[in-house]
Structures are given as C-alpha cells and as structure tokens.
C-alpha cells in the first residue's frame, strides 16, 4: 500500500461572494500521476493555487506528508517538497536559462546548483541549443521544458503542473507530456491539470474531473475511459473545445 502524500478534504475556496471550490476532496499517493480535468472555470487552477499556498481555503484541510498546508506559507510548502508549476509558465524573462534553473534550487543545495543547472541544460537538447538566450526569448515549448526542469531543481517529492501542454504544437505537447510521464521513474509524484482530458488519461493513473468547483467523477484512467457519462461530459467538452481552439488558431 503506497503512502498517501497529499490529502485534501472538503476544501472550499471563495473569491469574495463567488465560490470557486466547494467541498473538494482528493488524495495523491506516492509515485502516482493524478490528473485533474475539467473545462475552463471548473476550479482546477484554483485548486492547485490553494494546494501551493497562493490562495487560502475558506474551509477544509490539506495535509502533505505531515505538514498542514492550509496554514503554511507558500515558500515553506516548497521546502516541504511540493512544487507548483503554474499556468502560463512564469519564466523569469530577463534571466538566462541557467539563472532560471538556479531559482528553482532556492530551497535546495544552493552551492552545487550552478553545476547542476549547467548539466541539465547540456542534457536537454531543446534547452542546450538556446543556452545563450534569456528565458523571455524562448518559444512556449522551450519555456515549458525550462519551468518543469526548474521545478525539479528543488528535488521535490511531488510536482503540480498546470496545463503544461497549453498553447503548444501537438508535437511539442507530446514531448512535454512524455517528460511528465517520465517524472514517475525519477520518483516524483505528479498532480497534472489538463484541459486535454484524452492526453491526461493516457499518462495518468487516476483522474479527478471537476465541474463548477466540485468533483464530479474520480477513478482510475481505465475506469473513466469506459464510463460513457464521463466520456460524454469531459471528453466531449474537450473535443468541442479543441474544435473552438482550432478555429481560433485558423484566424492567426
């Protein structure tokens, strides 16, 4: 029986009068890849922000190993071993790639971080060929690779990734998801937010599906793939959404 790394119970989050999450419970076991799926505005990003201490829940508990995250400051949550890679990548645009990676090691072994950063850049082709650039000059896919590597510089027990494939070409999106699915082999547990539910089902062990701030479905990827209601509601939503995105990108 693997250890439960993260457990959230009955989380409620409000933005003023708006309830963004209502009684959400979930858990992630050591070594798992767990996906959170749902449409825009379902509360996925809010949930990750709450888990990483950027937002305080109005009610509910969050435990990561032995730490009560609902009362812990964001930078201490990183120290506890849980790192959040936010939506929109958030590179440090004026920094070199190496400096970006260094930032990831802020809570870790700072002395050897420079050497590690150089090794990571050398061994990641997509970054190695841009080694002389600042992060702001990178393409979206390159930035995404950079911020995932940056998160790993902290040697986290668990990472939370918010839409890592968003806005990337299909080839790059596949590369990113491949990198994510490889994290498990490095002993890193993953909580992945994806609008692309099909892609998420492919690499996740278990899935939680959110709609309007509540968990509607949860189960193993295999179970949910065969659940016609889930497929109708979430895989359908995704395909309609993909269609809309394809239409939009056609205009550019």
């Amino acid at each position: 029986m693997p250890e439960t790394l993260l457990r959230a119970e009955d989380l409620t989050v409000r933005y003023g009068p708006v309830t963004a999450l209502e009684n959400v419970s979930l858990h992630v076991d050591e070594g798992e890849i767990v996906a959170l799926v749902g449409a825009n505005g379902a509360g996925k990003s809010t949930l990750l922000k709450t888990l990483s201490g950027l937002i305080r829940p109005a009610a509910g508990t969050i435990t990561f190993r032995d730490t009560d995250l609902a009362r812990t400051q964001a930078h201490r949550i990183v120290q506890a071993g849980l790192v959040h890679v936010p939506e929109g990548r958030h590179v440090f645009p004026r920094f070199s790639l190496k400096e970006n990676l260094l930032a990831g090691a802020y809570t870790n072994d700072w002395k050897n971080a420079g050497k590690r950063a150089e090794e990571i850049i050398e061994s990641t082709p997509i970054l190695a060929r841009r080694a002389g650039s600042t992060a702001g000059q990178l393409s979206g896919g390159e930035q995404q690779m950079l911020v995932i590597q940056r998160a790993l510089m902290a040697d986290p027990r668990m990472v939370m990734l918010d839409e890592p494939s968003m806005g990337l070409s299909p080839v790059l999106a596949d590369q990113v998801l491949e990198l994510v699915s490889g994290l498990r082999d490095r002993g890193v547990t993953v909580l992945l937010v994806e609008q692309n539910a099909l892609g998420a089902l492919d690499i996740a062990d278990r899935v939680y599906a959110l709609a309007t701030g509540e968990v509607l479905y949860s189960g193993s990827s295999a179970e949910l793939r065969d659940d016609p209601q889930f497929a109708d509601q979430f895989l359908g939503v995704v395909s309609a959404d993909a269609e809309r995105r394809a239409q939009e990108s056609g205009h550019h």
Binding site: L54, A74, V78, H90, F92, F95, Y106, T107, Q137, R150
Partner: protein
C-alpha cells in the same frame, strides 16, 4: 579648464542623485511602486547622524552607520505599515500611503529639531586639493569615493548574494518567486531596507557637500533622484546611475549661467531627453515577444 571644474562638481552632486535614484529604482524595479517617503526617510536618517555627531560627539563613522541603520528600519516600517497592506490595491493607494508616512516622519523630526537650517560639519574636512588650475574640495572627493564604493557594494550584493538573487527574482515575477520557495515578504522588506540605506547615504553626502541639514532637504533630493531614475529608465539601476550623473553635470555646467533658472534648465533638458527616449535612456525596450 573651467568646464572640467564644473564637470567634476557635477559628477560629485550627480553621484549623490544617483544613490538616491538607485534607492528609488530598486523599489520600483521590484514592485512597480514609487516610495514617496524616500525623501523623508533619507532626511530622518541624516538627522540621526547629525544628532549623534554634532550633539553627542559620537565618531562620524559610527554616527553615519547609525543613521543608515535608522534609514533601513524606517523604510522597513514604511513597507510594513504603508505598503504591504495595500500591495494589491490600485497603485495610487501606496503612493498616497507612503506620502502620508513621509509627512509623519517629517513631523516627528520637526518636533525634535525644528524647521531651521542647521550646520552639518563636513566630515571630510573643508580644504581643497589643487591640481593645476583645478580646485577640488576634499568633501567632493570623499563624496565621490563613498558613492562609488556604495554602488559597487550594492551591485555586488545584487549580483553575488542569495538575498540579491531573491530581489532580482521577485522583481521579475513575484508569483513564480513564491512558487520557487523565495520568501517574498522578507525580500520586499529587504528591498525597502536597501532603498532606505542608499537614500540615507545619499542624504549624508548631500549634507556633507552643502554643510547643512534641514527638514525640507528630502524633497529636492527626492525630486532630483526621481528625475534621475526616470531619465535613466525607472527600475533600471545602471540607468539610475547614468541619470543621476547626467542631472548633476547639467546642473553644474548649465546651472551657473542660468541664475535662478538653474533647476529649471536642468529639468528642461531632462524633458528633452524623455521626448526622444520616452522609456528613459536605458529603459525597457519594447517587449520582444508577447
């Protein structure tokens, strides 16, 4: 030779403006906020040194250190009381609250020292060095050396220490900094403290150059530091240095022939620079990608 003399004078006062401008810019660069208490913080710190040195005959180095520490503490208090609670409000709000804190600081200093102009004994002595036709005040040499040393130390702090790294990270993306485990609140406090220290050092050098301290000294220095920061490209530290030196040299070269328009002429030239380069000399270029 006269021009060279004026340029040297200009570099001296310009290095003071540069320190104040960098104190400004480091806060702006990190938070996008202007600390309008900056002038009064540096005035108060300068008065602390004055009180210890002139009143209690504490050695000047110790008195200066105490004044700088007072500036750091005051800036930290301003951050804690007037900035952090309104950090997410519209940016006019922290402008008003820091302006208010400045008024409070000024009133407290006034209670103790009144509003008159007091003699500030120059700690570098009041002689001149003569090199050929040039007469260079000892105070000016001391001012330049202290300013340069301060800037070098501060640049090294930003570049080579972990706390300096944290400041540069927070300046670029506060949310990402938080998610990397950077203690953002403590870092913001450090930014204000550093700004306060640079300001007081600037204030001390200003007082040393003019050999006076007075309650209102914060405002002209604030205005010129602000102008220097904007001309250089606000938020950009090299720009603030450049802006300060340019402003000082303009004042010293154009100023004397302009009589009572001295300040105005310098500012007119600054406006001209901004017309050509609206973001300042070293200001952020247009974003390279969206």
């Amino acid at each position: 030779m006269d021009l060279l003399q004026q340029i040297i004078n200009g570099l001296t006062i310009g290095s003071v403006y540069a320190l104040v401008a960098i104190g400004f810019s480091v806060v702006y660069g990190a938070l996008g906020l202007v600390n309008f208490a900056h002038g009064d913080i540096l005035m108060a710190g300068t008065f602390v040194t004055y009180g210890l040195y002139s009143g209690l005959h504490v050695p000047i180095v110790l008195a200066a250190v105490a004044g700088i520490l007072a500036g750091i503490v005051l800036a930290g208090v301003v951050e804690e009381i007037a900035v952090r609670p309104v950090l997410k409000a519209h940016l006019l709000i922290p402008m008003m609250t820091t302006l208010g804190m400045g008024l409070i600081i000024r009133n407290v200093v006034e209670l103790k020292y009144g509003s008159g102009t007091l003699p500030f004994p120059s700690f570098a002595g009041s002689g001149f060095y003569t090199v050929g036709d040039l007469k260079i005040a000892k105070a000016a040499i001391a001012t330049l050396l202290v300013a340069i040393l301060t800037l070098v130390v501060f640049a090294a702090f930003l570049r080579y220490t972990k706390a300096g790294f944290a400041i540069r990270v927070v300046a670029q993306d506060m949310t990402a900094a938080r998610l990397m485990g950077v203690p953002v609140n403590r870092t913001i406090m450090a930014v204000y403290g550093a700004g306060g220290a640079l300001g007081v050092i600037g204030g001390l050098l200003y007082a040393n150059t003019l050999e006076v301290v007075y309650l209102g000294m914060g405002f002209p220095i604030l205005l010129k530091g602000f102008a220097a920061a904007i001309v250089g490209g606000i938020g950009n530290l090299q720009g603030a240095l450049l802006g300060g030196l340019i402003l000082g040299i303009l004042e010293a070269t154009v100023g004397p022939s302009a009589g009572s328009y001295r300040d105005a002429i310098a500012f007119v030239l600054l406006i001209a620079i901004l017309l050509v380069r609206p973001a300042g000399l070293l200001g952020a270029r247009v974003q390279e990608r969206v």
